[in-house]
Symmetry: C2
């Protein structure tokens, strides 16, 4: 069996109402408004290297660090997101804006190919002196991903060619050779961009450079120690205290615990999985599997949020998953999708697709508002109402991670090998796949994630034998399937989470899949101290929360859900163009008979109410109020 490769997003037409709405919102509102924000916040101007340099908009913090050092990456990510939009439909206005950016970058690029607007403008003599903190290679990585996307969308190669020159300069600068620096970036990203460049161009030198950065990471003598000493800094005075922060505390193949900054970790693991695939490197694959096991066993929120702590924007101890202070950066969940997709394509094991789906519908999608112009950076699972979406952020990384994800979401639905087609997600798509046996046109129709009734029509150009693999989500029970109305026994035909149907397919064949979606209670491992005595509600891939606007007066944290209370569903056509909410009889603590005291001997009285729960990704799109995912159980 040949390897499965994902369909390119541009070849997957989104037809279902759920993703159609998100995609249209991103195309029509998010991407244009992000350009406005980049302009308003001085990020676009920074590409012109204005002289004299304007004062910093974001002054250096006590670690002598300013977010402005990674402005190039924000531009790169916007180009990437905008280019995905252009792949859906060309737009001269957006293209003109990208061309202007490329003009600026072209003027800025140094004769030797170096291209980092922060250093070129403000401290040209200091380039490559602080890889640990200053994101030079990270910026290149995002610009490169943007350039590749732009090339694929428009055929225009100018930016890509510029960046290939920059990559050549990087290749000369870094490596084990005489006069080269044995460095790597403090924020991983260049590695996966280089793999992408390799896949586009077929030039092995890009894969080798990515591999060099991954292999070098964490080796002794430690590059960041040497680099700090060269700057005249005390290497021991690293502000983040430990190289766990950027996962360079030991060589990557020796890492088996997920530590440090969550986005850095996810980008690195994604690159490791890429290299494991491209180089058939089992030691990298094994490291990825151990790290995956560690995060899934004890370090991921039910929403797929990652990294509980604000202090390091990252991981702490096993089972440390506070709800109200959860950092759970949107970028980390987006990056988890990248990693999960790569793991999935190593073995086609549905456990990876389960996490991909869960991160997509919950951890990542919550980052983008309904109107497409507001964002969450951190994603608590409990709020008194003070946590709200914002229109922009000092560090706008999450905004463009949301837009580039949604604009390319079609790329996560279907993969194929020579003789098989695998559906990972459902929600209404149409595509054509070319197998060894010929072309097959596919249309998947469903109202997923609101319903688990899925219909797939197949149109092979000529009748052909191949395997159709349908993901049976880990959350589903009692799935049913049929081909042309003939039932299939799901369980015996399902391996690693995929139902395989091998037969000679004819044009007009119809597969139906029924994934029942009863509301479910979910409990956390007893070691998650914050969730003891608490229950969360899920339905299908969606995690639900209780938001104050749907639950009358008082904080929602006053609600308790009796264990025996039946949770039902309600289709609400009046909410967000039609969604499914959950409803259950609950108890609300009553404060009417409390006097001015804050504490007393008698427990509060309780009244019976009907609780309404909303998909988590939709919270904070209406009026301000409290929210919680984990309800006290009575």
């Amino acid at each position: 069996m040949s390897r499965f490769v994902p369909m390119r997003f541009v070849d997957v037409h989104i037809e279902g109402r759920f993703w159609r709405e998100r995609l249209e919102t991103v195309l029509a509102r998010t991407i244009p408004s992000q350009h406005v924000q980049l302009a308003e916040h001085g990020i676009l101007e920074s590409l012109t290297l204005p002289k004299p340099p304007p004062p910093l908009r974001f002054p250096r913090n006590e670690h002598n660090f300013t977010v402005q050092v990674f402005w190039d990456s924000d531009v790169g990510k916007w180009i990437e997101a905008a280019s995905y939009a252009l792949s859906h439909r060309r737009d001269p206005e957006i293209e003109a804006k990208i061309e202007t950016i490329i003009d600026d970058l072209e003027k800025a690029q140094a004769p030797d190919g170096y291209l980092n607007c922060w250093y070129l403008q403000r401290e040209p003599e200091k380039r490559w002196t602080n890889l640990r903190d200053n994101h030079e290679l990270y910026n290149l990585g995002h610009l490169l991903e943007g350039a590749i996307a732009y090339f694929l969308a428009t055929g225009r190669r100018r930016l890509l060619t510029m960046l290939e020159r920059y990559v050549d300069h990087v290749r000369e600068t870094f490596g084990p050779g005489a006069g080269q620096k044995r460095g790597y970036c403090g924020h991983q990203e260049i590695e996966l961009a280089l793999v992408r460049l390799y896949r586009l161009t077929g030039e092995r030198k890009h894969l080798e450079l990515a591999s060099y950065f991954i292999d070098e990471r964490g080796r002794q003598p430690h590059y960041f120690d040497q680099e700090a000493a060269d700057r005249g800094d005390d290497p021991k005075k690293f502000w983040a205290k430990s190289y766990e922060y950027n996962q360079s505390h030991k060589p990557v193949r020796e890492q088996d615990r997920v530590v440090g900054h969550a986005v850095r970790a996810m980008y690195m693991y994604s690159a490791m999985a890429d290299l494991a695939a491209e180089l058939s490197d089992d030691s990298l694959k094994r490291a990825c599997e151990l790290l995956w096991q560690d995060v899934m066993a004890s370090k991921i929120y039910i929403t797929s949020g990652l990294g509980p702590a604000a202090a390091n924007e990252g991981f702490t101890e096993a089972y440390d998953l506070p709800n109200d202070t959860a950092y759970a950066e949107t970028c980390a969940s987006v990056a988890l999708i990248f990693w999960a997709q790569r793991m999935l394509h190593l073995d086609l094991d549905g456990k990876y697709a389960d996490v991909l789906e869960q991160a997509l519908f919950n951890g990542a999608l919550t980052g983008l508002s309904r109107d497409g112009e507001h964002y969450f950076y951190s994603n608590p699972l409990d709020s008194d109402g003070r946590h709200r979406r914002w229109a922009w952020h000092t560090c706008p990384c999450c905004t463009m991670n949301a837009s580039r994800l949604v604009a390319s979401v079609g790329g996560y639905f279907v993969s194929h090998s020579d003789d098989a087609i695998a559906f990972h997600l459902y929600g209404g798509i149409a595509t054509s796949v070319t197998l060894k046996s010929g072309k097959v046109t596919l249309r998947e129709t469903s109202d997923y994630p609101w319903s688990g009734d899925i219909r797939i029509e197949l149109e092979p150009e000529q009748a052909a034998e191949f395997t159709l693999k349908l993901r049976i989500p880990g959350w589903s029970r009692a799935a049913k399937a049929s081909v042309n109305g003939q039932a299939i026994a799901v369980e015996p035909s399902t391996t690693n989470g995929y139902l395989s149907i091998s037969r000679k397919w004819q044009a007009g064949d119809v597969v139906e899949l029924d994934l029942p979606m009863p509301p479910e209670r979910v409990y956390a491992h007893p070691s998650v101290r914050m969730d003891v005595g608490r229950v969360a509600l899920k339905r299908g891939p969606l995690v639900y929360c209780v938001e104050q606007v749907d639950n009358a007066e008082g904080p929602v944290q006053r609600l308790r859900l009796p264990r025996r209370s039946k949770v039902g569903i309600k289709r609400r056509s009046d909410l967000f163009d039609g969604i499914v909410v959950l409803a259950a009889e609950a108890l609300r603590l009553d404060d009417r008979e409390w006097s001015d005291t804050l504490y007393r001997r008698e427990p509060p009285a309780e009244e019976r109410v009907t609780l309404t729960a909303l998909p988590y990704y939709l919270w904070s799109n209406r009026e301000k109020g409290s929210m919680t995912v984990w309800l006290a159980e009575a």
Copy 2:
């Protein structure tokens, strides 16, 4: 009836085992070890104004602020604590250390009386240019309290005289007159120190200066605005964002909501209550009462911790009382004791003594370790075990607040007026009070707080009529009392929390008070979202917690306490020289049948265990482990 005044701590001999142990520990270990720490951390050296100034040990943060600007206050507080110790028993070594400090300060003092070691050494031209941030008057306040305590302990007046000169300089510098600055300190403290100086010297000018600072605070045009503009800073760019941070957002008499930095707030309210008493100022008293009501109704932890947020070291919204991230600075609970004592002496209302006692035994006492050499700065009510006591702190304010409180704890037990004696606390003390009718020797014997059996022997020099007032704590039910074995009906004779016994007292009269101390369950107001479905345990004045070391394996947060489970007491002579723990049948979530998954549909199994609860103030004195105050109720 004349006003009640507290007995001086030095006139109250501590005999009971609870406070005797704490006092001896502070005298023998805490105060000497704090001097060692002050030396080791460069704080003592800073008083010598070394030239050239050594590099900062604590570099300026992003707000251009370093904790070193308030090192003088740490020295002042240590002198105060050490002097209280000297009042208990003189010690030539400690006195020599204080004299050395006074030598240094004497050399440092400027000809005009100004005495701030930070400014004199590092930026003499900038004195009085940043009252908002730089603590000059705060430092003076603490030095002054230290000087007064040292004078009272030893009769040595040198430091006090130096500081009176400094106060004179301050009086010339600040005021409404031509050429004067209409300023006040960003961190309140000078005000209550000036009242103390007034009470010592009888010089009204000190009271007037305190009153000036309080009255001026929050007036428009705002002094901190003008001062920032004079420095060339944008007043709008105050790093704390709002003048609520230092309670100067409006004139103090208009304040009715507790806001901002908790220690600043408590020191200010203490000074306001002092001035209300000294000036019979009802508007100040009224403001204090409204602020008291606000904090007690919605902004205080059950432990009397104050200020949930680390960001402002202070208050947030009503009912926002997170347990695991509670800041609840030890200093704030110590300062609450100061405020409560002052409020108590305005009206002799036991509600203030209730809070004083609660803050003493829980919020404040927890700040000092059993060994007397380790501290808590913040006091969460829930921990996974990572929160531990430390030997010193970047900002060591809490260390000396703990030592000065314990070293002077006798001052909180008894007050008297011309013809009445009032007991606020119990625990084994002996003292002599001089009433209009003559001297009365008193001995209160009890094992409080472990037992509520209290015996008071009175020895008037000659038989005399006066009133004995015994506080009946707010937490007590069914108190019983007798005089010479004759029962008294407690309830009818109790007003505002004090049982009054007026009679002709004879030498040898014995009053017995029985305050039953059954273990109690306490519930929080339903609006405290973190405590919904949770219960805390108390006994007498002590709040209990569950610590891992007493509760076998696994985090204590796994325990659930059924509502019908009986909570009993156990006297444990093996623990901390003999304490009372609570015990109850509980349920522990069991993870033995959990696989590697973090979330699942089935609730965890539970096993029956016996839960042991420990007084909160004692936690983190043994091996590392989890702790919680609020238990999930089953």
